[in-house]
């Protein structure tokens, strides 16, 4: 395999930092400093991505409604969400009299810790991967399931019936749709034969999993998008915080930074869902490459891998926003109907079909090894 020139890749910079640290510190301290650096980077990226997502969401929502959206602060209102962040930071955290104080304060941390844990394990680009577990996909599903506990506790400890109903709805919805999300990811794990993100991405060098597994992969992709969308309590599935009936659902009683935690994690969860879908189905940070077309591949590699990653994830996020601003909110029984009577049975059958296809060699890489094979 040819080695392509990658001018904008961060690999060299990272190696230089690594060399510098190892040259000046003992191994133990190197690990510690690296850990702290990575932690700061992840938290900074978390905040930055969430803030820019809030801005993009407001802008896209406005455009879908033939408005202009935020346009006052900075050119086209780009620092609007920064101003919002400052406002939220200096707001008072209101104490609720008859709330269960301990759980009330702990709940936002559950939500945000779960989403930071999942965020930290994402492969952002070539060598931009903090944790590469051999169970990457499973790890992501596991830690993201912790967030729902925070939502349930928030709803209960607020001592408010709207919060409580919102939390119960959210719980029922999350548990249901988590099944579908898990199964559709498992379909792709069957196809790529690994749960490790780096291996899944490497396996999609010449053919994305979406096309490699053709029909079942596309069904899994669709189901993952739907259930991921539902898991993040957004779009037509936002009835845990249906403002017309529940004021704001589980975070009705929260203010200031605590509300900010819920807000940030909601947007970040949207990013995580889009990023996982991009990594697992659309090749992650791997640039588009065609076997044999070396010049074309070289041009594609000039675009850095992190740009590919954010581009693909951004496309899926735009899709998610499009869905959100297109459809009316579902009723709770229709919502559960969709999951238990449609998505889950289809998903189970789909998984079986995928197993048959992989075992009998009907994937594109098996059928046309000259075009798509590794």
């Amino acid at each position: 395999m040819l080695i392509y020139s990658q001018p904008l890749e961060l690999t060299k910079l990272l190696a230089a930092i690594d060399n510098f640290l190892q040259g000046n510190l003992t191994p133990g301290w190197t690990v510690l400093v690296k850990g702290i650096l990575v932690g700061i980077l992840i938290l900074a990226a978390y905040t930055l991505i969430a803030l820019s997502l809030i801005y993009i969401e407001r802008k896209v929502a406005a455009f879908f409604q033939a408005r202009l959206g935020p346009n006052r602060l900075g050119k086209y209102g780009v620092i609007q969400s920064l101003a919002d962040m400052i406002k939220i930071l200096i707001k008072e955290v209101i104490q609720i009299n008859k709330a269960d104080k301990l759980l009330f304060y702990a709940a936002p941390f559950f939500v945000i810790v779960a989403s930071v844990l999942a965020f930290g394990a994402l492969p952002f680009g070539m060598n931009l991967h903090a944790l590469d577990f051999n169970i990457g996909v499973f790890y992501l599903l596991a830690v993201s399931s912790l967030g729902i506990i925070g939502i349930l506790l928030a709803g209960w400890s607020s001592n408010n019936k709207y919060s409580m109903i919102g939390a119960m709805r959210s719980g029922a919805q999350f548990i249901s749709y988590e099944l579908s999300a898990g199964f559709s990811l498992m379909t792709i794990v069957v196809l790529s034969g690994s749960m490790q993100f780096s291996e899944i991405i490497e396996g999609q060098r010449y053919c994305w999993n979406l096309f490699n597994g053709h029909l079942p992969a596309m069904i899994a992709f669709l189901i993952y998008l739907i259930s991921g969308h539902a898991e993040t309590n957004r779009g037509p599935f936002d009835l845990p915080e249906a403002e017309s009936e529940l004021t704001a659902g589980y975070h009705t009683e929260y203010s200031g930074l605590q509300f900010g935690f819920f807000y940030l994690s909601e947007y970040l969860n949207m990013f995580i869902v889009a990023a996982v879908a991009a990594t697992v189905f659309l090749g992650g940070w791997m640039p588009v490459q065609i076997k044999g077309w070396e010049a074309f591949n070289q041009v594609m590699w000039y675009i850095p891998s992190w740009a590919w990653f954010f581009g693909k994830a951004g496309l899926l996020m735009f899709f998610s926003l499009w869905v959100r601003w297109s459809f009316p909110r579902l009723r709770i029984d229709l919502l559960l109907n969709l999951e238990w009577k449609y998505l889950l049975p289809i998903n189970l059958a789909n998984l079986l079909v995928m197993v048959v296809i992989v075992l009998s060699g009907f994937t594109l890489t098996d059928l046309f090894p000259a075009l798509f094979g590794k």
């Binding site: 455009f63 879908f64 601003w325």
Partner: protein, 172 residues
């Protein structure tokens, strides 16, 4: 049979969802109707019928048409207008009322237009200059007649076609 309905239902749902998304996609690309106000001051068009600020038009000789009759003050439903006048002796020995101050409170005006309709000499009108916000409540009290202004000569006025046409309109 039920199974066929089940599968058919999925495709119907997908088709109708796609239909909805096409509608919103078109909406995304439509030109936006939002006006960005302070930037578009030059091109901003406010309807002539918009009543914003009561003014008393003065001509180039600093003359107005107000005879200080006080009808606008009487007709104002919430006492927004205060007309103060004084009487002077003219050259031919008659007594005549002249306007001292015509005060109008922007803050309590409901823009009902009654003062303008009832004014017998069309001395006051509403303009459409809507940027009336001030930082001090006392600035809302406007004095409509300019400093040193005086009543326009009636005879000159009668000869102008414009006012007579206006009066006809009013009678109609």
């Amino acid at each position: 049979m039920k199974f066929i309905q089940y599968i058919g239902g999925i495709f119907t749902a997908l088709r109708s969802l796609a239909g909805g998304m096409i509608v919103t996609w078109k909406e995304l690309l439509t030109p936006k109707v939002t006006m960005e106000y302070p930037e578009n001051r030059k091109t901003l068009v406010i309807s002539d019928r918009w009543r914003s600020e009561l003014i008393m038009p003065h001509d180039e000789n600093n003359e107005h048409a107000c005879t200080a009759c006080g009808i606008c003050m009487i007709n104002c439903p919430n006492g927004t207008i205060q007309v103060t006048s004084s009487s002077i002796d003219t050259e031919d020995g008659k007594k005549k009322k002249i306007l001292d101050k015509h005060l109008w409170d922007y803050g309590s005006c409901t823009f009902c237009n009654l003062c303008v309709i009832t004014c017998p000499s069309d001395a006051i009108i509403f303009n459409n200059d809507f940027e009336g916000a001030v930082f001090d409540k006392s600035k809302l009290l406007h004095r409509l007649n300019h400093e040193g202004s005086k009543l326009r000569d009636r005879k000159k006025e009668a000869s102008t076609l414009d006012t007579s046409a206006k009066k006809e309109n009013k009678e109609a």
